[in-house]
Symmetry: C2
Subunit: 283 residues, 2 copies
């Protein structure tokens, strides 16, 4: 592995394998061709052409969401979409734009709608050395079981704002008091586009840095993390470079942290690959 390999594998998206999903004039998703073909059975909701799929159903958010949900239920039966998680994500043409419909989280990669998450780097200085808190994901997680993770990370579900998600996940995942998490500094966003076995992940991760008090020990409350470890940041970066121990997208968040804090320096041969590879344009 190299730093660049992690960036490449999170950006293995191939436009030739995909058709866009349109709602009116706006592209709102990216359907792998096999997934697009599976929507032909639902002409009341989706119009499937060779080069695009269009949302036919019109109406308010609730009406469109109900129609799409019925399609999702049928695709779950066909095992094209994993069983519903009972958590929905907003679908909109752009961050901050009016919501068009809500989609079960499990169906997001099938439709390739953009998903947003928050990732928190929990860091502290110890004996003059920068350290990062690292979590180990539970073995029963659907995505990346047993892999290493940031101190806190979570998707931004429908109805939960970004800061609210960060505060809530901080409590659930690491027992961080909201009064502490509220000091987290927003430090940018990592973006990538990746094909997986279900479809396309078109992801934006809002990145936060939080200095953790020396006497604080994170404790997981929701069963998603089995163990936390405080590691020297340079050792974390080495592990990113030499292994696939971290969840695929967490590698990118750590590379972004390393770049911003001078752990990775300009004389590193991959410096510009990292500096330019973490922020895929949002088209």
């Amino acid at each position: 592995m190299s730093f660049r390999d992690h960036i490449v594998s999170c950006n293995n998206y191939d436009p030739g394998r995909v058709v866009p999903l349109f709602a009116g004039e706006d592209r709102v998703g990216l359907l792998r061709r096999d997934n697009a073909a599976a929507l032909r059975r639902f002409p009341d909701v989706f119009a499937v052409a060779d080069d695009r799929v269009s949302l036919v159903e019109r109406g308010d958010v609730a009406a469109v969401s109900r129609a799409v949900d019925a399609v999702v239920d049928a695709l779950v039966v066909e095992k094209r979409i994993p069983k519903s998680r009972n958590e929905t994500f907003d679908v909109a043409p752009r961050w901050g734009a009016p919501v068009l419909f809500r989609l079960d989280r499990g169906a997001v990669p099938f439709f390739g709608t953009r998903a947003y998450g928050v990732h928190l780097n929990g860091y502290l200085w110890k004996a003059g050395t920068l350290h990062l808190w690292v979590g180990r994901r539970a073995p029963d997680k659907r995505v990346a079981p047993g892999k290493l993770d940031n101190l806190v990370a979570g998707g931004i579900g429908n109805g939960h704002g970004l800061e609210e998600t960060l505060l809530k996940e901080g409590e659930e995942e690491a027992s961080l008091a909201q009064s502490l998490t509220s000091h987290a500094v927003p430090a940018g966003a990592v973006s990538y586009r990746m094909e997986n076995e279900l479809g396309i992940r078109d992801d934006v991760l809002f990145v936060f840095d939080l200095e953790i008090p020396a006497d604080f020990i994170p404790k997981n409350q929701d069963g998603e993390i089995v163990h936390f470890e405080l590691m020297p940041a340079s050792a974390v970066l080495d592990r990113v470079r030499t292994s696939e121990d971290f969840k695929f997208n967490v590698n990118l968040v750590i590379l972004d942290f390393a770049l911003r804090h001078g752990l990775l320096r300009p004389d590193h041969p991959e410096y510009l690959d990292v500096a330019t590879g973490l922020h895929r344009p949002l088209d």
Copy 2:
């Protein structure tokens, strides 16, 4: 103006107006079609085809540089290239790759070879508020006369390493002791591709942050900056948003600083435009 406008104007590159310059198998430059046509007079050095220009001259760095220099001298006479600055930039296929030839700085946009610079954000906390040192460029600068600038900025000339350039420019531009500048933290790189009246700027700016002691007053030594001012960082960011007071590329460096330090927050409607727009991929 908006934040996005600055990013767009630094990335006004239109591939349709340009042909690549190749050295062997490697693309090393981007020639606007009128500039490419002007090279037809020099078939011993450049082979000009409709869809590409190739460097014909072979030999070691000194030999190729001499041949290209002779062409540059002729183009200076024709006023296609401004008068030589007597400072040369290395030309290579990639950062860190072996140098193919050296090119007068004034000729870099004509050939569209990639140029590298260092920009230093000089910051401090004053009365609990983040401040930035801002310079005013001299009225006789060829590029962006009279515009506002970072505390220190400079191109990486031939034979000077990146850190060496930073230390040297810090002394010349702001009287920063090398012992202070050596604490600057590398924090990534900003990249953009821009057409100007001379040709194409294909630029990479290595970004550094340096905390400046409260009692330090920068003093210019090389005549490139006429005045320094310490401004609240939020006021600097406002000025970026509402004006063209800063040199075109300095707007991007300040946006990058604002993003990394939480001055620009995720609820800002342009947050993701900034997060994804500052790091043009290096192809």
